[in-house]
Amino acid sequence: MSFFYQGNLLLAAMIFALGAFGVLWKQNAIAVFLCLELMLNACNLAFVTLAQAQGHPDGFAIFIFVVTVAAAEAGIGLALFIKVFHEREHIDADRMIMLRD
């Protein structure tokens, strides 16, 4: 049974790397956000796995905080995307370069 924990940690590492790759790779801002959620999910998996392995409730508390932050972030971010889309008719992250120019 103990390979469940090691497997979960390995899976968390792989999903986190995939999400980090996607954040830089994807062009659509909503797709970037989806990859961000993937990274948060990987963190949750690691936290819950370690909390359960140690029999300690702290990991679960942090799991709740991560989910709450994800909810707040999704609300604010998607509201921003709606605003940007109304202004510019696209939400391509690569074309939002007003601050760079």
Binding site: M1, S2, F4, Y5, Q6, G7, N8, L9, L10, L11, A12, A13, M14, I15, F16, A17, L18, A20, F21, G22, L24, W25, K26, N28, I30, A31, F33, L34, C35, E37, L38, N41, N44, V48, T49, A51, Q52, A53, G55, P57, F60, A61, I64, F65, V67, T68, V69, A72, E73, G75, I76, L78, A79, I82, K83, F85, H86, I91, D92, R95
Partner: protein
């Protein structure tokens, strides 16, 4: 039997996570992300963390992803077009960064997993009362700040996406193209 179920959920989570990153359309990405969350909930149940699985399905897949799908529907965005040349370097950096992170994290996790003594049988279910106790004692300030953060997020989302009323300042000049 448990090993077989575990392998099933493991592969399902990994494959759907890959498909989140490589799907062309955001709706497909969001649906595969929901599949990833369901698979992760299965993994939570297999290590006897049923409570986290319920939370994952209810809040994450049920609430946050519905918000995503709703916004995708509202904006009606199609598939991505071709990239301008100037951003290719960012994508190359993404490949390098992702690969480096994967190798690093896998090595770290493997080493840590080999050294840490994980119990052979899953420890008993952590009662939800102990989690509540941790939340309301050790993490009390963080817990209270979280409620303030949620309030700020709600107000911010309303202020950003809400319809502009005539009361808050002069109206913005219309862009020359006009709005559809």
């Amino acid at each position: 039997m448990a090993e077989l179920t575990y392998s099933l959920f493991f592969v399902l989570a990994l494959v759907s996570a890959v498909l989140v990153v490589f799907s062309r359309h955001p709706v497909h990405g969001a649906l595969f992300l929901i599949l990833t969350m369901v698979a992760l909930a299965g993994l939570f149940i297999l290590i006897n963390a049923q409570w986290a699985a319920v939370f994952q399905i209810l809040v994450y897949a049920g609430a946050i992803m519905v918000l995503f799908l709703f916004v995708i529907m509202l904006l009606n965005i199609g598939r991505a077009g071709e990239l301008p040349v100037s951003t290719r370097s960012i994508r190359r950096a993404g490949v390098v960064f992702g690969l480096a992170l994967a190798v690093q994290a896998a090595a770290l996790m493997a080493r840590f997993g080999a050294e840490a003594a994980f119990p052979e049988t899953p420890p008993p279910l952590i009662p939800i009362g102990r989690i509540a106790l941790a939340l309301l004692t050790r993490y009390l300030y963080a817990f209270e700040l979280t409620s303030v953060m949620l309030l700020v997020a709600v107000i911010g989302a309303l202020a950003l996406a809400g319809r502009r009323s005539s009361a808050d300042g002069p109206p913005e000049p219309q862009p020359p193209g006009g709005r559809p």
